[in-house]
Every structure is written in structure tokens, then in C-alpha cells.
Amino acid sequence: MIVAEFARDQWYVAAFSHEVGRRQLGRTILDEPVLLYRTEDGQAVAMADRCVHRRFPLSESPSHLVGDKVVCGYHGFTYGPDGVCVAVPAQQRVPRTARLRTYPVVEQDSFVWVWIGDREPGGTLPPRAPWLAQSGYTTVCGMEPLNARYGLLVDNLLDLSHETYLHGGYIGTPEVAETPITTEVDEEAGVVYVSRHMADAACPPFYAESTGIKGRITRWQDIEYHPPCLYLLHSRVAPVGSPLPAADGTDPHAFHVEVVYAITPSTGNTTYDFWAVARDFALDDEKVSDFLRESNRTVVLQDVTALNTLEQVLAREPDRYQELSVNIDTGGLAARRLLAKMAGTPRTEPAVR
């Protein structure tokens, strides 16, 4: 059973920081329409993207910003960044109930995170992806909408065996599917780790072109999934025979790529697929940036195409279709269970397969 319910009372990536500015941006997150914009002093705000009057989207033209206020493009209802309506057309009295729901916002690591839920986040903060906004790394990024339920993307990313087949010629080589994996689940922290270390592998074009490595490589893939939203792939690539990382954690003989995905459910069968690739080499080489941007976007779109097809297939299946799971799914199954627990979905064994 692929998790379909949403986990509420969680942080979700609503946008990259660079997407939020002085023009309204509308995103639907967990079925909730969210308006994002930046106040004149640079603060990102998030509030309901529907005017209380006749539900016109405040992110849609001719709605617009005046200073820090947003004016509905239909009848002119005007809201402050705290969601309170400050003006209605043709009357002095503003109805007491004329206010929009606002969402807690944290801007961190180049992402704008919003808290979707009924209770306040309190001291809970989003997980970190520091490489995306850190000196010593250069990052390329993008977002692709997915017409599939978010659980399919979680499944996809927790099992990188599919690289061999779906992404051959980009990031996939035979060794990826052939090398055993180690899976760890930290129940307390709610994190899934999946590691696959290839001692002697072909260098896929994604890494050969960007690093300049000509021969075979040692290739490590260490996944860290923080459900529901953040996925980190620590990728280490080094020519075969290179020294391993030193005891102090330094690793000067290898190339490091931090692949980050934010998996944000939009509706029951659509998802925002935010992706970023940060590297610690060729920092100022625009050609490498362009290559990695285009290559990774191609890889993401290969996943999008496959998962969009899969969603259509699954949508026509009966609810309790029987899946087959094998060893490569160990991490994905763990992720599903954590997500189901977070979403409060009762377990209906043996459906979780």
C-alpha cells in the first residue's frame, strides 16, 4: 500500500527562496491553497490564497501587492501580511471574521518552509540541507510538478536501483542495481538511511563529465530521508584506489555531490518535486553548472514521466492491489511505515508491501 494520506503538522517546502519575491506566488500544499510573497523588508509570508469574500485567488492577476498588503483582484478586499482584512469595498466596517489563515514560515538553506497543520510548530524546525546555501559548494536547482501521489516519489528515491534502468546513460550503471544495500531506521528521530557503496563501478556520464574522471570509480550513495518532506543523497565519487575519508571526516581525494529533494504533496495525486544538486568541486565553472543542471533536470523528468504513468495505472487499480516487494525495497518500505505513522493511517497488514 503506497501511502496516500497526508502527514499534517509538519514542515513542507513551499518554494525556493528565489521564487518568493514582490509578486504573489500561489502553491497548493496538502490540498490547501497557499499565497506566498515577500514584504518590503524581505520577510517571506504565507497565507490562504483565497479571498474570504468570493474565494478569488490572491495569487492570480489582477490581484496585486500594495506595499506589504495584498489586494484581491476581484472586489478589492485588502489584507495585511498577518492575514487581517484592512479594507473592503464601499464600506467602512470590516467584518470581524474577514481574515485569512496564515502559516508559520521558516526560510532556511535556500528553501521557504511552511508549517501545514492545526497546531503550532513550537520549537520544531525543518530538517537541514546546509550545502544549498554554504560557501564551498555550488548549487543548481529546479522544481518539476508531478502528476502523481507523493508516495510514488518517495518509493522512487529510496530505491536507487532504478537508476540502472530508468536513468541509464545519465546516472545509472549496472553496479547500482547489483550492489547490496544497508538500511537503518532511527525510530526516535524518524529518519531512514539507505547506503550503497560500490567499490569498483563504471563512471556514469553525470559524474564523468562534471568531474573529469576517466576511469572506474568508487561510488558511494548514502541516503538520508527525513519524512515527510526532505530527502538527502550524499554522493561520493573517487577514482578507484583513492584513499578513503580520513578519520577526522576530511575527504580530499573524492568529489562530493549533495543531491537534495523536497517532496511536497500538493493534492492527492499531484506533487511538487523540488530538486537541487550541490557540489564541492569546479565551483566557478559555469559549464559544469550548466551540465549538471540540464542532466539532473533530464533525470528528474525521466522520473516524472515514469511516475505520471504509474499514477494513471494505480488510479485504475482496486485499492487493495497486491504489490511484490524485494530486497531493494527495504528502505522504501521503512519510509512508507514512518509516513503512515505520521499520517495517522492505521496499519492494515499485509497491505503494506
Binding site: T179, P180, I181, T182, T183, E184, V185, D186, E187, E188, A189, V191, Y193, S195, R196, H197, M198, A199, T218, W220, D222, I223, E224, H234, L244, P245, G249, S325, V326, N327, D329, T330, L333, A334, R337, E349, P350, V352, R353
Partner: protein, 88 residues
């Protein structure tokens, strides 16, 4: 089979630290580990309580791990604190 068995070496390229330790997170007491045993189709599961078991089906494996302590044979957790004094 014990944890010292060389077949438990989880990865092929050296003996790197697990990801959570290399990236600065501390190992939690509720850490479940699953090693795909090289050269086999078997999965070796280690519960945080120290119980171990082998499986060839990841679904059955997670049922067992998350079913702790059912069917487990817990061993003392090395860093478990001494029992608090009983107040009377």
C-alpha cells in the same frame, strides 16, 4: 551467527561510518539496522534491543523489527542507565 561475522560487513568499499554518524547525528537507541548479506538474497535484521534475525522478505522483516519485543530475545543495552532508586 554473530555481529562479528565477516559476512555482516555491510558495504563493499572500505568500512565507512554509517551515514548518520558521518553527518554528525548521534546513534539513537531505537536504531534498526538491516544488512543485505553480500552474495546472498538474505537480509540480516538487527533490532535496537540487540535481537537479530534473518529474512528473505523485507515485509516480514519489518513486521518482526517493528514488532519489538514480540519474538525477540532482548539483550542488555550496553549504555542503558542504571535503574532509578525506588521511592517509598
Amino acid at each position: 551467527m554473530t555481529a562479528a561475522d565477516p559476512r555482516h560487513r555491510p558495504m563493499a568499499a572500505g568500512d565507512p561510518e554509517p551515514a548518520h554518524r558521518r553527518h554528525g547525528l548521534s546513534a539513537a537507541r531505537t536504531l534498526h539496522r538491516v544488512h543485505w548479506m553480500p552474495g546472498t538474497d538474505r537480509l540480516h535484521a538487527i533490532c535496537f534491543c540487540g535481537a537479530e534475525n534473518e529474512f528473505d522478505d523485507p515485509v516480514v522483516l519489518w513486521d518482526w523489527l517493528l514488532g519489538h519485543p514480540d519474538d525477540h530475545h532482548p539483550q542488555p543495552v550496553p549504555d542503558s542507565p542504571a535503574p532509578a532508586a525506588v521511592l517509598v
